[in-house]
Symmetry: C2
Subunit: 354 residues, 2 copies
């Protein structure tokens, strides 16, 4: 049985979310919480140990694992202190605001012999997991394009996310998840990346981005996100030469989900050189498909839940096995994010792993 | 009154289409047609002069304007011959398979003192015209992104479009139109372009592309087209900081059109630094919009018809004014197409007009 006694360092929005979730996971005990704004902890469970100084939580002998949920710029200090105190570390994303900072955090954990992972839990998102299976099992044949889209209507960013120096903006907040999903889905080298990152509504932080990954097999993945993209939805597409898979969550119509693989019964058959005089719709190439040409299959059913990340964490601790989110993977996520930022800044594609 | 006596050079699919359209335009007389496959002309109107050799049509004194609808590799020869014969020239798109060829065609027309334009008629498409107005009139505020999408289900290309040496592939066939629309819509310099061009179903010619235009104001335009993208539709989006405009034609559901501008009544209002504990949907940034936040307005009504291109042509001939499609614009379309091809080949962004 795993002996996981957590201290939650930072009791803002995500600190509370963790507390709520962990209260349903008996294998993990939340032993203490900490926030430098005491009122943030007013609604904490009765009897829990509360601190306002991170050192006190980190050095509490009742805590053997520090869950770092403080603002992004404090991750490094917190992780290094926790490592030195001999505590295992779970860090919120983005793990660090630079690869150099991240390397210091990982080195500190290694030197201290403590375990380190990052709460990039969206590998278990229910819209992602079946699409990964579609891709990995070749359910649409040879995939040529993966699209991951996230559109919202708020415009403004919330809370500290409006401050660049806090690691604000959507690339840090959601981009890290969306990037991690694509890299987790496709076990290939990325040869180059290209990005367009904009500030549409927010003055100081990004709120729109297009990220293009070019993989060595020729596969392309695109991520597009906007906070002022008024067709609000979360949509995945995996497109191959044997079909198109879609997982679409329409935020307007009651979170209606469209999940399917669309296939064609046959391709256009057209003797080379023969003149086809029938015009189908606006052109011969595009227009209404003939009746019955398209048919649909369900997406594969793959179960996932909000508990999966911590279940995996418990397993790795109990069995001494590698975490699902490895330090190398997180480093790769951060490196490619830097490459995307460079691309957006220079307007050029950036070579990566080539 | 304009004296326009056309010879249609090439009587395949598009030659027939032109004949049908022109039969409804009284200001233009079709005096002769030509195809090197005589049976192609079997269904031509009775009494029309038919040729099988392009020289005969070009030199027919009853013809003062040559409409070039022969396969792409023959455009250059036909245009230069027509110019030398003193005939005005209307050339089908793509005007030429290289900028060098195009320059020779234009030079020949200039030297002969004949008029030259290209049948890039899709500037009058009914899905394009209102979106251009949305952009030009600032109806969604400051535009940050324009998307032009065309998805079909045929997979295979038809007829000669499967041959690269004929100017086959979708970039030449539809790309030229889609590029021309974007450049016509946005009166700005393009600073750089980036493209991903693939052969998904077809062995020798492109059938998928993503084209990204970066304009000097910071605006981005994206074109995406696929012949095996099984959510078949034509969709325009113009996204600004005051709304999102959409013109979507769903090829599956009876060509159903969704045309609207979506706006928000307000942006997220969130005092900086304040912790917002309400979680709306899957995150605080994305999820169902609050009731009444989004509202819709109709797109502006702008009339357009399949006759507009030739109406404009007639006006320019009658009044001696510049054609809607100028030689410089077509040259720019071809140059940027080359830049997109270079980008796709190298994986790098390509500077353009910067």
């Amino acid at each position: 049985m795993a002996d996981i006694r957590l201290g939650i360092l930072g009791f803002g929005f995500m600190g509370h979310e963790h507390m709520n979730l962990l209260s349903k996971i008996p294998e993990i005990t939340v032993s203490a919480i900490c926030d430098n704004v005491p009122s943030q902890m007013d609604d904490a469970p009765k009897g829990i140990t509360k601190y306002t100084d991170m050192d006190d939580l980190i050095n509490d002998p009742a805590v053997n694992t520090v869950l770092i949920v403080v603002p992004n710029p404090l991750h490094k200090e917190a992780a290094i202190k926790a490592a030195k105190a001999g505590k295992n570390i779970i860090c919120e994303k983005p793990a660090a605001l630079s690869v150099a900072d991240y390397d210091e955090m990982v080195a500190a954990a290694k030197e201290a012999g403590v375990r380190f992972t990052v709460h990039q839990q969206r590998r278990h998102d229910h819209d992602y997991v079946p699409m990964k299976k579609v891709f990995r099992d070749g359910l649409v044949g040879k995939t040529y394009l993966i699209r991951s889209m996230m559109y919202g209507v708020n415009g403004n960013m919330h809370d500290w996310h409006i401050y660049p120096e806090m690691g604000g903006g959507m690339l840090y907040d959601w981009g890290i998840h969306l990037i991690d999903q694509v890299l987790d889905m496709v076990p290939e080298k990325v040869t180059s990346v290209y990005a367009d990152i904009k500030k549409v509504i927010n003055k100081d932080v990004d709120d729109y981005f297009l990220l293009v990954f070019r993989f060595e097999s020729g596969l392309t993945a695109e991520i597009e996100l906007g906070t002022y993209f008024l067709t609000p939805r979360r949509e995945w597409m995996v497109l191959g030469d044997k079909g198109t898979a879609i997982f679409d969550v329409d935020f307007v119509n009651g979170m209606k989900e469209t999940k399917k693989i669309v296939r064609t019964r046959h391709l256009l058959e057209n003797v080379p050189g023969k003149i086809t005089m029938t015009s189908a719709g606006p052109t011969r190439s595009f227009g209404p498909p003939e009746e019955g040409l398209l048919y649909e299959e369900p997406l594969p059913e793959v179960k996932s839940s909000e508990f999966d990340w911590f279940r995996g964490y418990i397993d790795a601790i109990e069995n001494g096995t590698e975490f699902e989110i490895t330090v190398e993977q997180v480093r790769r996520d951060l490196c490619i994010m830097d490459a995307f930022r460079e691309s957006a800044k220079t307007g050029k594609a950036v070579e990566f792993e080539s």
